[in-house]
């Protein structure tokens, strides 16, 4: 029998996309938080930020907010493995004559695509709130960084979703993984003026490189350097994917 290797990955990618498009409530719900942050912080802290000499805060904040949209969507779509487990579909995937690596790959690419779309919608919201990218020609680079962030965050979601048995651990994930990743990244504040310890944490946070890459592509100035951001993101995405795939392969139903 013919065994087309890409098809299994493709059909699982397509499944994630279909599930996303069909849950309009989720699309809108997932827009709420980033929009709230953008409006409240952008316009609330904006004037103080400007007076302190930081410039236009919305210009600074927008890439962080886009990253937030990607982070949340990617992690939660990755964690959907728990739903698959509870609703039984996981069993169907696990007894299929397809290696678990392909299943993880299909799921991850699907979830990452969903997160990328969601991030793009957040980007449009930022445009509506007054954000302007510095160099339109760098937009493809921005998209590349968004994709890398999406893959990395989905891999985190896959890893966590493979280990958790049910949604009871959900607040734990939110408070101890997702929110710390977001708050201790470069999303909300510039790095140079931070106290030493915080700066260290921020520099160790993988998401910082995502935000910095995206901010650089949108505003033209990188704090860590485009090459560093790119290398760190690629490396971490690969490592996290391997970890996620490994944990997924250990699942028993």
């Amino acid at each position: 029998m013919a065994r087309p290797p890409v098809s299994a990955v493709y059909i699982l990618w397509l499944r994630q996309l279909k599930r996303y498009i069909r849950s309009r409530a989720r699309i809108i719900g997932a827009l709420g938080q980033p929009t709230l942050f953008l409006l409240a912080l952008g316009f609330g802290i904006g004037p103080t930020f400007a007076r302190a000499g930081g410039g236009d805060y919305v210009q600074f904040l927008a890439p962080g907010i886009v990253t937030m949209g990607i982070l949340f969507t990617a992690v939660f779509t990755g964690i959907e493995i728990i739903w698959d487990r509870q609703f039984g579909f996981l069993k169907e995937m696990l007894v299929a004559p397809v290696s678990r690596l392909k299943i993880v790959l299909g799921r991850t690419l699907g979830s990452a695509t969903v997160a990328l779309i969601q991030g793009s919608i957040v980007f449009l919201v930022c445009l509506a709130a007054g954000f302007r990218p510095a160099h339109p020609l760098l937009l493809p680079l921005a998209l590349l960084f968004m994709a890398l962030i999406a893959i990395m965050c989905t891999a985190i979601g896959t890893a966590v979703g493979s280990v958790l048995q049910d949604m009871q651990g959900f607040p734990l994930i939110m408070n101890f993984i997702v929110l710390p990743l977001f708050f201790f990244s470069t999303a909300l504040f510039p790095v140079p003026d931070l106290p030493g310890a915080v700066r260290l944490v921020v520099r160790l946070n993988p998401l910082s490189y995502g935000v910095d890459g995206l901010r650089g592509a949108l505003s033209g100035s990188f704090a860590f350097g485009a090459a560093t951001d790119f290398a760190v993101l690629c490396g971490l995405a690969a490592i996290l994917l391997v970890i996620g795939a490994h944990l997924f392969s250990k699942i028993e139903v």
Binding site: M1, A8, F87, F89, K91, E92, P97, S99, Q165
Partner: protein, 267 residues
Amino acid sequence: MMTAIIEARDLVKRFDRFTAVDHISFAVPEGVIFGFLGPNGAGKTTTIKMLTTVLAPSEGQLAIAGHDPVREPLLARRAFGIVFQDPSLDDQLTAAENMELHGVLYGVPRVERRERDEAMLRFVGLWERRDDYVKRFSGGIKRRLEIARALQHQPRILFLDEPTSGLDPQTRNQIWEFIPELCRDQQVTVFFTTHYMEEAERVADQIAVIDHGRIVAQGTVAALRQQTGGRTLEDAFIALTGHSIREVEAAPIDRMRRMRQVWLGRR
């Protein structure tokens, strides 16, 4: 003598110190309907999990259509279709999309896949509802769709784990009516588990009775009755195990054993 398509030899599964399946051996000839009968917690689901590559045995040998499920899981998986005890459909997809996903995962070529989708959905009477979302289906319809899906890739073996649990008597009746038909039409060997005597008696060509992880008897329904001198399978079961299947079902120790199995199995 027909050749065996499923073979288990001295199969053992231990969870910590608890032995769920204790040195069982059986052979299922190709083309038969094989009933695996026993009370809840007897080790039926654990056995089916080992046969279907989901769980690794602690000891013993297995062959599924000639393949070792531990060493050649992908080859073994191609040879069977399975309907689990609980639904395993994606209910945000339509019936047809669930079929398509299955066909692609099993590497069925496109043209053949479309033919099979239609044939199987017609067979279970769901062709007209192919574009409905699964979340709108009742339990019985979902079970039919799962049977259609399990047969999509033309497996040689169909595993049914308690295929009628949670269904109303009417739907249960329907399912058992078409399983023999399906076995003939699709030329598939059926291996099912049940704790309902009457179901095993009704459709199974051969039966293995499992109790506390051991096979206490196996053979045709007639042979079992003859062997024990009982008039019904129920009599035979009591003669073999010393208790009725219903009593055991309600015994607290078995309920605990089952919960333990569930918890440990989930890890």
